[in-house]
């Protein structure tokens, strides 16, 4: 079992997914082989890509350029809400700080004000060799050393009618905030309805905020509220919207819980990047994997991966379970992802 080849395979799959998503959203990249039918989650994709970009500088540059052009469609509040670890917050703040340096629109300083001191300086790109002589000030402000670069200015306009751009389209319609995310979920979830809890989990906003939004939409006659047992559920009748949004019945963008899946995979990528893992024995590697998996289990479950259904393994045999779980997660990104069984001990 080679950890490095497992790491490389996972990283390759994650990168391919990120580039495919961005290519359809206007980032300068090769056109993906197949069109996405699921609506992207912009903030989750941003954080995910900034983390992946630590091993792919070009991804960082192009995503920053996209953010520069489309910053009005991004929720800083939601972006920060999705941050779990200090590195997430640093990456988000660095990206916002970078964008603020470049027109077309400069965000107010409070948009990237920080509530903590930057950590010790470290290289943004993990494979960087040598000194960064011209550090980017926005990244340096959060402790990341990254060569200062100008925007690539290669970002193209995205097609707001493309299924993958549905979240951005909702923001163009309803503004950046919980309303757009609630509507995105109700439009794209298979049953077009959900409880406050479920919708809040998918929307990435606080339950109270989502509850207020849903009640306002119900008062406006946009959504229907009904109760099942002790729980209120909110439903959207999509038929009248087919014509407005130019979707044929059955061709609506699909809901994928990218928020939780990309969150888990972002943390997975960061965990796998730890070079100390390479020094561990098979048992200790499995033990660390078990500890790490516990931290992303809830996200994986919300993303539809029933980790409890994967038989556990004792001691170093847990590695097989871990690899199977990662394989399930990668299959949600790409149903044709190669099997990871090569990374299982014989």
């Amino acid at each position: 079992m080679e950890l490095s080849s497992f790491r490389n395979t996972v990283r390759r799959e994650l990168n391919a997914f990120a580039w495919d998503q961005w290519a359809e959203l206007g980032v300068f990249a090769p056109t993906p082989e197949r069109r996405q039918t699921a609506a992207a989650d912009p903030e989750a994709l941003l954080l995910f890509s900034l983390e992946l970009g630590r091993d792919d500088p070009r991804l960082v540059d192009e995503v920053l350029d996209w953010l520069r052009v489309n910053q009005a469609l991004i929720s800083v509040h939601r972006l920060r809400t999705l941050c779990i670890e200090p590195d997430d917050r640093d990456l988000a703040d660095a990206a916002l700080g970078w964008v603020a340096r470049w027109p077309p629109k400069v965000r107010p300083q409070s948009a990237f004000a920080r509530d903590r001191e930057p950590p010790a300086a470290r290289l943004l790109f993990r494979d960087s060799r040598g000194e960064v002589t011209n550090p980017d000030p926005a990244f340096a402000a959060v402790g990341f050393l990254k060569p200062d670069t100008e925007p690539s200015r290669k970002t193209r306009p995205f097609d707001p009618r493309a299924p993958i751009a549905f979240a951005l389209r909702m923001r163009l319609m309803f503004g950046v905030g919980s309303r757009a995310e609630v509507m995105r979920f109700l439009f794209t979830s298979p049953s077009n309805d959900g409880s406050v809890q479920r919708i809040a989990e998918a929307a990435g906003y606080a339950k109270r905020n989502v509850s207020e939004t849903l009640n306002a939409l119900a008062d406006a006659g946009i959504v229907l509220v009904y109760d099942v047992g002790n729980e209120y559920r909110y439903a959207l009748h999509t038929l009248p919207w087919n014509e407005v949004l130019s979707f044929t019945p059955g061709a609506w963008p699909q809901h994928r819980d990218w928020l939780h899946l990309l969150q888990a995979l972002r943390l997975l990528n960061r965990w796998l990047a730890n070079p100390e893992l390479d020094e561990l024995s098979p048992y200790l590697l499995a033990s660390e994997a078990r500890q790490f998996a516990a931290t992303i289990e809830a996200d994986l479950n919300l993303a539809g991966i029933a980790t409890a259904s994967v038989p556990g393994g004792e001691g170093q045999r847990y590695w097989s379970t871990f690899v199977q779980t990662v394989e399930q997660a990668l299959r949600l990104l790409n149903p044709n992802a190669p099997p990871l069984s090569d990374h299982l001990p014989e």
Partner: protein
């Protein structure tokens, strides 16, 4: 999960690796079922590892409470192998209160589990002492079965019986002890004790 003759060394090796991760070195003195398993003296499963003492610079030291780093490492092994919460415990350390059998340390059978863990298993002779005491003190059951598996000679049983009297000098215990010896085939226990 229980400890058996196949996984006991695997668990202790895992504990050794976790200790090494924490840059802590420990020498455990282990008695009971897991020690019997490790030495290949019995084949029954057991649920825990009984630590009677720590060995520090060759001296037997009371393990209570077990060191924090050892407990942390043991907890990781517990999770990794789905073991009971107290799979590594110092329950038998009370044996130290009235003294271990004479020559106990010299008879220990030691095994290294990496650079951070040495486990000293009580020898067959000393296990006979402990098992006889446990059989009389706690009742037969697994202790009797273990004692039978150790196949002690009458002399070994009598030596063990004399040591058990240091742990419990009461008349009640003596009567139970004589009955147990008789049950085990030692008929002249009354004279010896």
């Amino acid at each position: 999960m229980e400890l058996n003759d196949r996984n006991t060394h695997e668990l202790l090796a895992a504990l050794g690796e976790q200790l090494a991760q924490r840059e802590t070195r420990v020498e455990l003195v282990v008695v009971g079922g897991s020690a019997l398993l490790a030495l290949g003296l019995v084949r029954r499963a057991t649920r825990d590892v009984d630590v009677v003492a720590l060995l520090v610079s060759g001296d037997v030291v009371d393990p209570r409470p077990l060191p924090e780093s050892l407990l942390e490492a043991a907890d990781r092994v517990r999770v990794d192998f789905d073991l009971p919460a107290d799979w590594l415990n110092a329950a038998p350390a009370s044996l130290l209160d009235f003294g271990l059998p004479q020559g106990f340390v010299e008879r220990l059978e030691s095994r290294e589990y990496g650079p951070a863990l040495v486990v000293h298993f009580a020898s067959r002779t000393d296990q006979i002492h402990f098992k006889l005491y446990a059989m009389v003190d706690q009742g037969a059951g697994k202790h009797e079965a273990d004692l039978v598996a150790l196949a002690p000679t009458p002399d070994e049983l009598l030596a063990a019986a004399r040591w058990t009297r240091t742990q419990d000098p009461s008349d009640g215990f003596r009567q139970e002890l004589i009955s147990a010896l008789s049950y085990l085939g030692v008929e002249d226990g009354t004279l010896e004790l």
